[in-house]
Structure formats: structure tokens, C-alpha cells
């Protein structure tokens, strides 16, 4: 996938995240589309650094538009993308269970980083308040990443029986 297509996908996800996603909120929880894209791009396109570059860029855009302090989401996406690229060497991209584990871990790490930095900056938000949305967030994000995975995997992993396999 070309950079500009990936960037368009991130931008569309950002707009949907902040507008349309509020319709599909369940028990006050919405999926984090930007995190899902960071995970799937870092997992499938690790050589191109899509997740890293676009994650930081759109994390900053998100922070500018919504966060109390700029840079937190960008740093969280950066750390998650980097971690996924590092663990990719022991993961099998063709097994869907790998992406489930990666997505669940990334959602937990994202929440921990966000809470940790907000805590250091003096936020009074309790750890348990942030964590109580976690199970549903993990579920929501995992479902979306699995859908994205099945849409994108055939373009990333070529099978020798594919017509245009080289």
C-alpha cells in the first residue's frame, strides 16, 4: 500500500472516530480506530514504518484537536508501533491469533501510557476509572482489527497459488 493511501485511511479513521463513532458507543465505550490502524499497519507493514510515522502524525493531530496536553496519544502510538515491530520477529503474520494478542496488548498498553502520563501531569483521574472501560475496549478494538486483518492480509502475504505471485 502506498503512503498516501495509508494516510487517507488514517485521516478518514480520525474523522469517523470523532464524529460517527459516537453513534456506535456501547456502555459509553467506543473503539479507538486510530489505535486499530496503528496496530494493523505496524503488524502487517512493519518494513515501511507506516504505523510508526502515521501513528505519530495522526496522534499529534488528535492531541491538537482534543487532548488536554499535546503529544500523549502520539507518544503512545509511537511506543505501541515500535513494540509491535520488535515483537513481529517472533510472530506469525498468517495466524489470526497473533493479531488478537497484539491488539489486546496494545489496547492495555495505550491505556496505561495515557493514564501514566496524565497522572504525572497532575490529572486526578483514577487508575480504576480508566481501566473499567478496558475489557469492552479490548473487545471492540480486536473485532475491528480482525476485520481489517482479513481485508488486508491477502495484499501483504502472497501465496504461491496466487495468480500474480512472483
Amino acid at each position: 500500500m502506498k503512503y498516501r493511501y495509508a494516510a487517507c485511511l488514517f485521516f478518514v479513521a480520525f474523522i469517523i472516530q470523532t464524529t460517527l463513532m459516537n453513534i456506535v458507543s456501547v456502555f459509553g465505550t467506543t473503539p479507538n480506530l486510530l489505535l486499530c490502524l496503528v496496530v494493523i499497519f505496524s503488524f502487517l507493514y512493519d518494513e515501511n514504518n507506516y504505523g510508526l510515522v502515521l501513528g505519530v502524525s495522526f496522534g499529534l493531530l488528535y492531541d491538537i484537536c482534543f487532548s488536554q496536553y499535546v503529544g500523549i496519544a502520539a507518544l503512545a502510538f509511537f511506543v505501541i508501533s515500535l513494540a509491535i515491530m520488535l515483537v513481529n520477529v517472533i510472530m506469525n503474520k498468517e495466524v489470526v491469533f497473533s493479531v488478537i494478542v497484539v491488539t489486546a496488548s496494545s489496547t492495555v498498553v495505550y491505556t496505561l501510557i495515557y493514564w501514566g502520563i496524565m497522572f504525572m501531569l497532575g490529572s486526578n483521574y483514577s487508575f480504576f476509572h480508566m481501566m473499567r472501560f478496558l475489557p469492552l475496549s479490548v473487545l471492540y478494538n480486536t473485532v475491528i482489527v480482525i476485520v481489517l486483518y482479513y481485508l488486508m492480509i491477502n495484499k501483504v502475504i502472497r501465496h504461491h497459488k496466487d495468480r500474480y505471485y512472483k
Binding site: 472516530q17 453513534i23 488536554q68
Partner: protein, 272 residues
């Protein structure tokens, strides 16, 4: 330099991490306000979000059959909000205005003006996280909105303006804000206290008088005392859900359920 050339990727990673940390620190030191470039970016994003947000609310409301009910509902909400403001304002002015005038004369303070101008605004984007309640509205500095302006809706106190651009403003809810709000009890305006977000999506506070007869179910209103952000007097904050006497601090602490349902905000009013 040789090491940097030999380890370009690693250098890029370390450099990016440091820059992001620096951005967070600078943002914290500047109290969360973004740069002029950031404001331009947010203005452009708000321009795109505005029509999508209205379409979103259209989908949510059901665009086929219920338009006239929604219009009528909006009118009734506005009327309800106006009547509630009038009731609060009338009660407050009747009971307290004379006392406040005397107090103002003594301390040479300005008399609080209850005839604030309010401007209606649409919520065009919510933050999309599950933890905070930060949202963008479609009014900005050209409509007279300024930082720390108070935002309300028909249910009560919503929050304050965090940052304002030309045609947008970012609002932080009262439960997320670190600002403290001074309150009075609706049934007895002599009971005064201070509250703030409890870090769990609600509000917590205490009465200044530890003997105050505050009880579960009491409705709390803003007192109009300035604590960093000027909340006009008489805005509905919420209802007391628990009262406890803390022996260590010797304070009567309370828990409050906010009047406003923050996950369903559509229209708000900014008090100018």
C-alpha cells in the same frame, strides 16, 4: 556523527521519542494551549467535522419520520432551560441580592450581573476516548467566545472553554476540569461549599461549614464565587448522592451526580 550515520533508524527513534516528550512538557507548561499552527490545523479539521457531525446527529435522530417532534422537542428544551434559569435567577436575586449588594459595598466588589448574554453552539466532535469529556463546538472568538467562558445546556453546568479559535472552541467538562467550582444548596443558599471532578466520572466536594445540614438529594447550584473560572450564579450542577463526615479533615464531604449527561451532548450555550 559517525555513530548517527551508522545508526540512522535508532537515531530517528530516539530523536522522535525525545521530541514527543518535549512537546508534552511544553504543552503542560503552556497549560494545554496549542500554537497558532495548531489552531489553524484544528480550524481546518473543525471545518470538515461540522457537516459530518450534523449528518451523524441526523442518522441518530432518524431522518425519516421524527423531524417535527425533534423541532418541537428543541423548542420545549429551550423554553425549559429559560424557565429554569428564570426560576433560579428569581430565587437568588430575591433572597440574596440585597445581602450581596451590602457585601459588595463593604468590599468594593462589582455587583454580579445576572443578565449574561448566551450564545448557542452545536457540538461538532467528541474526543472519542472512553475516559474524558472534551469536545469541539462550532463557535469561536468571532462570536465572542473566550478562554474559560462557561458552557451550559438545558440540564445544567457543562464545563468551560479550554481554547478558542476563530470558528471553533474546545470545551472541557466540569468533571474533567481541574478547576474548582463553588456551590450553594438550592433549598438553602447559606450552605456553601467547593467541588471538583472526582477522577471517576463524577464530582466530589465539601461544605465550608462542617455542621452544614446538607443531605442526600440536595440540588447544588453554582454560587458565583470566582475560583479561577467565573461560573455565574444559579446554574444547576447536580444532585448530592452521598454525604460523609471525614474525621481526619473535619470536613463534611459529599459526592455529586452531575445534572448533565455528558455522553449525549448536542447543543450547548456559552455564557458571555
Amino acid at each position: 556523527m559517525k555513530w548517527i550515520k551508522a545508526h540512522k533508524f535508532l537515531t530517528g527513534i530516539i530523536g522522535t521519542a525525545l521530541v514527543l516528550c518535549l512537546i508534552i512538557v511544553l504543552s503542560f507548561l503552556s497549560d494545554g494551549s496549542t500554537s497558532p499552527v495548531g489552531r489553524q490545523i484544528q480550524g481546518a479539521v473543525a471545518f470538515i467535522q461540522r457537516p459530518i457531525a450534523s449528518a451523524t446527529f441526523g442518522i441518530r435522530d432518524g431522518i425519516f419520520n421524527f423531524r417535527h417532534i425533534i423541532v418541537e422537542n428543541d423548542q420545549l428544551r429551550e423554553e425549559n432551560a429559560r424557565l429554569r434559569r428564570e426560576i433560579n435567577s428569581t430565587n437568588l436575586t430575591a433572597q440574596d441580592l440585597q445581602d450581596l449588594r451590602e457585601l459588595a459595598n463593604i468590599f468594593n466588589y462589582d455587583i454580579m450581573d445576572y443578565n449574561h448574554r448566551a450564545i448557542a453552539a452545536n457540538v461538532i466532535a467528541l474526543d472519542g476516548t472512553n475516559w474524558f469529556n472534551v469536545f469541539t463546538i462550532d463557535r469561536g472568538t468571532r462570536d465572542g467566545i473566550y478562554q474559560n467562558a462557561v458552557v451550559v445546556n438545558h440540564q445544567g453546568l457543562v464545563g468551560t472553554v479550554m481554547e478558542a479559535g476563530t470558528n471553533w472552541a474546545r470545551v472541557i467538562s466540569v468533571i474533567d476540569s481541574t478547576n474548582r467550582v463553588s456551590f450553594i444548596v438550592a433549598r438553602d443558599h447559606d450552605i456553601v461549599g467547593i467541588l471538583q471532578g472526582d477522577g471517576q466520572g463524577g464530582l466530589t466536594g465539601f461544605a465550608l461549614d462542617n455542621q452544614a445540614g446538607i443531605i442526600v438529594g440536595d440540588v447544588l447550584l453554582t454560587s458565583g464565587i470566582d475560583l479561577g473560572s467565573m461560573y455565574p450564579k444559579g446554574i444547576d450542577i447536580g444532585r448530592v448522592t452521598a454525604v460523609d463526615f471525614n474525621i481526619d479533615t473535619q470536613l463534611k464531604t459529599i459526592e455529586i451526580e452531575p445534572s448533565v449527561r455528558f455522553n449525549n451532548l448536542r447543543k450547548v450555550a456559552v455564557i458571555l
